[in-house]
Amino acid sequence: MIIGLLFYGIILSFLALFVRKKYNFLRWIIFSFYIFLTLFLTITIGKDSTYFETFNLISILNFDLSLNFRITPLGWLFTLFTTLLLFLTSIFSIVKNKNEDAERLINFFWFILIISNTGLFLADDLFTLFIFWELIGISSYFVISPGWVSSFRAVNYYFIFSIICSFFMFSGIMILYEGTGTFSIQKNVLYFISLFENSPLNAIFVAISLIIGFFVKSALFPFHIWPAQAHAKAPDDFSSVLSGIIIKYGLYRTILFFIPLFLFIKEYPVNHIMVNNIPLFSHILAWSGAITSIIATFLAIESNDMKKLAAYSTVANMGYITTALFSLSSFGIAGAIFHTINHAIFKTAIFLSIAAVKYRTHETQMHKLGGMAYKMPVTFLTFLLAIISAAGIPPLNGYVSKWMIYQGLLSSKFPFLTLAIFLSSTGAFMYLFRALHSIFLGQLPEKFDNVKEVPFLMQIPMYILMFLMVSIGIFPQFVINLINSVLTSYNISNINIKNSMIFSPLSGIDSVKVFLAFTGSFILAFILYLIGKPRKHVQPLDTYTAGQDPADFNLTRELYHFAYKFYGPFEHMFDSFRTDTKEFYDSIERKINEIGGYFRDFQSGSIRGTIYTFMLSFVLIIIYWWLL
Amino acid sequence: MNQKELIEYIKNNFKGIENIKSIDEKQFSITVQKERIINILSFLKLSNFKELALITAVDWIKEEKIEVVYILFSYEYEQQLIVKTYIDRQEPSIESIKNLWEIATMYERDVHEFFGIDFIGNDDKRPLILHNWKDIPPLRKDFDSLKYSNTIFGKFKKDKE
């Protein structure tokens, strides 16, 4: 039935290609209908992991390559929330893509992306995983840069990184395949664990080949530059998919492979170096997550483009998730998975509101915007709620997962990791407020006076996302039950919940009481507000300007909006050790071009030169043979 | 060079300089015809009377004359030189010394506002200190400040009587 779904998707994607430009909203309706179908099916199939399906492609040269799918609780959970968010973004993009120029191509590749998204999460064997992984790499590449010259520069790092990681994974799979003889994930994971005993050298090679994919796809420390580039240029609604969903694939695969491995080593630490009873390798990964989150936070504080800011905040959140994941405590892992879901939700909300602002104002530089809240209240509310939950502030969904991450880290005694996470989450609050202020509050520039709210069809996903954030914030137990089912599948101890009261080794919280406390105090504030004398509405420019009438020194509302270099002095603190990793990759690229250029001129040298080189190289081979 | 040598030096280097008077051992004044004002000032600037302290004017209503006063100062000689010229009161106009000293534009703008002197070459005629002024320049002798104050600010006095 899954294969029927995928096959049907492929047909639809080709069908959608032939819809004429005039009815292009029809193309996007087909698109969102298909995602709704996948969403509906994932819910109806449910979590029973006995559901198995196979589709035999070909069997040649003693390889029997077939796409087979199985519903694992983890896969099901990831499919559920990714398809839900994709569905919301597709509703948003029906209206947005009315007059895009290359939208026929975007639609086609986005279709393939959806198909491979479900395929990847429900894949049962490594070969299917690799096929869909490759498809995602290629299609997301083409959606980000459909024919715009400028965006090729932005995407080339993303493209190179994803190819490197997919082919390293390919070699890893091959080594595992040679060992187990089949591609199926369960057997290979067990073999992978046993590999560490008998041939550690190759085990490390396979581990590295899988870890590189994780590092690249979830944009951890050395590879943290591609999201900012890719997001700035990607079409706006796709960047919410890019940072909401595509960045999670690396994480999914790591959970498949490395969590069972590290848990196994945790129980039987035969000859592994253990650092406060977790393997050294997972300790390094946790630290890489922490470092990424700190670096990404400070980069986000400096960025002036709102999409770059959101991209860096995604990288920071991925940093939290990796740290929590590799702290290997039950709360840590549950918190990581819960934070992935929460992060997907509030990040899609942030990106959709940014896309709405860009749809209306065609402007991404934050200091040129301002005062959008007065004109676009719904977008402002979504952005506000998304910021509250992104900063982990209690009534909304961000805080539950952040609290669980803290419980996980503290209960397994990681003082400095918790400090790093705490530093980056306060930093998150800094740049998120900056975005809220410079885009939505402050002074509305004159040129945006006639900006209207986005059409209703674009507002539906915003309402749904707001509802999601609030409901998960108040009643997290529904999602935690799902996560518990995932934890049991990896036989990690579950989180005990007694109707909305979550107990952890350190302390318990009851999110309903938290919400009650907040509403109670809000009512108290409202009563006080009514006691005071009624307030009078005043024009935006009527502010305290030390007695000088603004009209005198021709002050326009645009000049009066303070948003450029919001944390200027704070940034100067880090001037001394500011290394630009993009500069580092550019230098590598230049070096490669240089070497290539050297060889190229070498080729087109004079005729006499060729003969000398020919003879010389021949002699060199003999010498080389002699040395060997 | 003390003051006497300075006075000698100026007397025999320049013609068209009327009464040179030394006010006290640190100050002395000269009066010059209107036409020669520019080259005298530029000469004085070269012989290190570097600083133009002030430009102001005095309204001699009886002689129908307005006296334009330039006060120069020299750090080297520690002497203050007051250069005076007399111009006609009806259409008072004099060459602007904007390109000798940058600051002169501001002083000339102020003197123009308060005395109505038209400085040729300095077209910056915007009001500087007075607010929304429509009358004749206030520091002219024929301007009756009390009457002005009573008419515009003194409304309460009339109600009292």
């Binding site: 803290y406 503290l410 800094m430 509050l441 305290y544 | -």
Partner: protein, 298 residues
């Protein structure tokens, strides 16, 4: 059960407001005494608040009203989770430290959103300074929190207080003196007192965020500051001075507040980036030293 919570909620919030204002009044008299003059009666801040609520006010947009209210309610909601003496509003959630730390940010976010909707550039400059300072003093405070959680194996203030019962010698103040010093300096930043009050610098940015707050909005600002004093001093008494019975708890809070005021009245103002640098070097090294000592000992 429902009205029981409402009553407990009212007790919790009103005590924080009243006592907060009381501390402010006593504080003002204390500072006046240092300056050799007699400030108004100790109930002066009550009068100020009532006067403010009696004045008319202006607002630039409904977001400004919503923001100020949210700010105030955020702080009140945090106080709900604070152990006042040995009274807890929610008996089964006895003062979870991490929740308190995150709830405080609602107060900041609400106030920040409200004032930045006012359109005056002074307020976002002030808020930017406040947030940058926040990332400064959060580090030593977080380190102290981590240290105590490791020491007591639980992040509930209730357990932290239990371990400090009995005589004065087993107060955390004496067990971890350096951590206490670091936290006191962090408290100085949290309350926005003199060395770190770049955010509401009246001379430079016309009292920063509060520039457009008139009448009852300024009243909300006052109440928020008052309950913030109560909250922050309350947390530190619970963490380090073993919050005793109701009276003991209040006197310790007052002692802490007057300590910060005495520091405040003798120090000029930091530029906020130097403030952040200061926070990341001196108090953090104190608490770090204590943490390392603790880790070695364990």
């Amino acid at each position: 059960m429902m009205n029981n919570y409402i009553v407990r909620f009212l007790i919790g919030s009103l005590t924080s407001i009243i006592l907060g204002l009381l501390y402010m009044g006593i504080g003002r008299k204390f500072i006046a005494r240092i300056r050799r003059c007699y400030a108004g009666p100790f109930y002066q801040s009550f009068i100020d608040v009532i006067k403010l609520f009696s004045k008319h006010s202006i607002s630039h947009h409904w977001i400004m009203d919503f923001g100020i209210m949210m700010g105030f309610s955020g702080i009140i909601a945090t106080v709900i989770f604070l152990p006042i003496g040995n009274f807890y509003v929610f008996p089964d959630m006895k003062g979870n430290l991490i929740i308190i730390m995150y709830f405080m940010t609602i107060g900041y976010l609400g106030m920040a959103m409200g004032v930045s909707a006012s359109g005056n550039p002074n307020s976002p400059i002030g808020i930017g300074r406040a947030l940058a300072l926040m990332i400064g003093y959060e580090i030593p405070f977080a380190l102290a929190v981590i240290l105590l959680i490791f020491a007591n194996g639980s992040s509930l203030l209730y357990n932290i207080i239990q371990t400090q019962q009995g005589s004065i010698y087993n107060w955390n103040l004496l067990k971890y003196p350096f951590a206490f010093i670091g936290t006191i300096i962090a408290l100085q930043g949290m309350l926005g007192e003199q060395p770190f009050d770049a955010m509401i610098a009246p001379a430079e940015i016309a009292s920063g965020p509060m520039v457009e707050l008139s009448g009852k909005f300024l009243g909300f600002g006052f109440l928020q500051h008052a309950s913030q004093i109560f909250l922050e001093t309350g947390i530190i008494t619970a963490m380090f001075l073993g919050g005793g019975t109701i009276i003991g708890f209040f006197t310790k809070q007052l002692f802490l507040y007057l300590l910060t005021l005495s520091i405040a009245s003798v120090f000029p103002r930091f530029r906020f980036e130097d403030g952040v640098k200061f926070f990341w070097t001196i108090p953090t090294s104190f608490v770090l030293f204590q943490l390392i000592l603790f880790l070695i000992k364990r």
